[in-house]
Symmetry: C2
Subunit: 335 residues, 2 copies
């Protein structure tokens, strides 16, 4: 798929922007709908954003796609998670059997779910001793995500499962945005105080062992990320090229997105933050990206759950925008 | 229906509480589901709250009811709205024809919508010159709301339409909670600065003209409210007696609910705040009620729109709670 990170940069630099004419026509329609101007708040902004990216002034969401990627992390051996690494594969089986939270929310949203496990029996290297992945390995995972995006999809959510991957996301965020390792480190699935201190130490060691990571966003992805994180970056990048809007999920999905954002200006113009999670660093990361989350419900599960819940908000925005009567149609004064 | 406000108080004082056994069984189930403890955040709290009120440890929402009440306000003649009073009836016609925002969101939520216009050709009295309603008139409107709640409903949202009714809601809130009139007064559907100052003055005059309103919550409803506000209070009270959970909409619906809350302790135990609106006083009012809104999207439309959008969040909570596999069922370690 890609033989270098420069090739990815080139594709993103040449990706098309939104259809400004469709957006303008959506704005004209919005101004005629039977409500006071601006009374639907954020829903109005969402409708115009979506209309522009889809090139349709009166769109609906009919084919949302949810991609859940799973990967295992060498750094999990450092005691950075409350759960053992076996849980990654067990949860993949649970996703496939329909028993996880994401399955229930996907059903409610009328979305398509694809679950893609990436070499679970071959964890990445422990990044405190060197790069987590070779370039070819990282590019292959990125390519898997890229190719998983369905061309018929009209909305994309990427989710993930991977014991240890909040540590990986924290290390990426630390590499991209500096600060202290502890600024980006949280309790994940439920670490105690000792575990949290150990995790911050591991993040700091990761950066020390991989000095390239702080200089190049794709090096941060390769040296500190995981296959599921690279695959999410690939899927989000592909959606940008296909003008498929994206709702970002939690801290880990947002770390994948941040790599693209830092690598190529405008790479996330097609994305909104579906929610802000209970992992404190997520809000900090969204601030760096200039994204205002649609939901704030204290979720910290991953899998894509928060973003899939937010699909309903976006669907509501489009139902209003595309379904409401105009002042003239309804015979209401004041339009 | 009711011949006195004391009779309403008695009914609420004798209303049943939630089923603590069902709630406890729901909590037991929640602890076994395939996710880290607490990882679904607010969704877990919502599921237990709903399970308790419905007396079902593994519930679903299948019959949500949305009641939209409309009323006209004498105080609208004081220039407190950006729209003329004719718009109330025009929007009722729009609701019935399916062209309003609420119709689109009700469709998305799979809810039933009942639109009830209350004597639109007979506005309430201008409350700056005396009580908005006679007791019989207010009790009749309350009774209309009470009787509109369907016994088969498993969730209730009340919405409203009434030109001038943020002024009425502001006056009720000012009567219940004191402060300055301007603390409770906002731009509603889009007042300019002069209109906003006039509106705060009208709210202050309303309280001065109706000293009983500050002493008794039901007097606040009668003297400063409107028929649609009384009807919402009636519907929310009836839902409390039938153990039907309620999602509150915006400032005006919350003002109706606040009357019940101040009249009888625990009268809103069955209610959650669906959202917080762009009307600044709404957040202040929710704080008084100790309610944390599910959504914050800058809506300021009324009609029930914000709360109906929040139905999706509650449905998501119940889909996860009632649909997920347990650790034992899925063979996942760590449960």
């Amino acid at each position: 798929m890609f033989d270098s990170f420069d090739a990815i940069r080139d594709r993103l630099l040449n990706a098309p922007g939104p259809d400004e004419d469709a957006r303008a026509r959506a704005a004209t329609r919005n101004a005629t709908l039977t409500k006071p101007p601006g009374a639907l708040g954020r829903l109005e902004d969402l409708a115009l954003w979506y209309a522009g990216w889809r090139g349709d002034p009166r769109p609906r969401i009919t084919a949302p796609q949810v991609l859940v990627f799973a990967g295992n992390h060498g750094v999990a051996a450092r005691g950075v998670s409350a759960f053992p690494p076996d849980v990654t594969a067990q949860m993949v089986a649970n996703f496939k059997a329909g028993g996880a939270a994401i399955n229930q929310l996907v059903g409610l949203a009328g979305a398509r779910l694809d679950v893609i496990a990436l070499d679970l029996n071959r964890p990445t290297m422990d990044f405190t001793t060197g790069p987590a992945m070779a370039a070819t390995d990282c590019l292959a995972a990125f390519g898997t995500g890229w190719q998983a995006v369905g061309h018929g999809a009209d909305l994309l959510v990427t989710g993930e499962m991977g014991i240890g991957n909040t540590t990986s996301a924290a290390a990426i965020a630390h590499a991209l945005y500096g600060g202290a390792a502890s600024d980006w480190t949280g309790r994940g699935t439920g670490l105690d105080d000792d575990g949290l201190a150990r995790k911050a130490q591991v993040v700091a060691e990761g950066l020390a062992a991989n000095p390239d990571a702080a200089r190049d966003p794709f090096a941060a992805l390769r040296c500190l990320g995981g296959r599921e994180i690279a695959a999410m970056a690939g899927a989000i990048a592909r959606a940008r090229c296909l003008r498929i809007p994206v709702l970002l999920d939690g801290f880990i999905a947002t770390a994948a997105a941040a790599v693209l954002h830092e690598a190529v200006p405008g790479a996330l113009d097609h994305a909104q933050a579906g929610h802000v999670s209970a992992e404190a660093a997520h809000g900090r990361l969204l601030d760096q990206l200039g994204l205002d989350p649609l939901l704030s419900l204290g979720l910290r599960l991953g899998e894509g759950t928060g973003a899939v819940l937010a699909i309903q908000v976006l669907k509501g925005a489009l139902a209003c925008h595309s379904g409401m009567a105009t002042f003239a149609e309804a015979g209401v004064s004041g339009g």
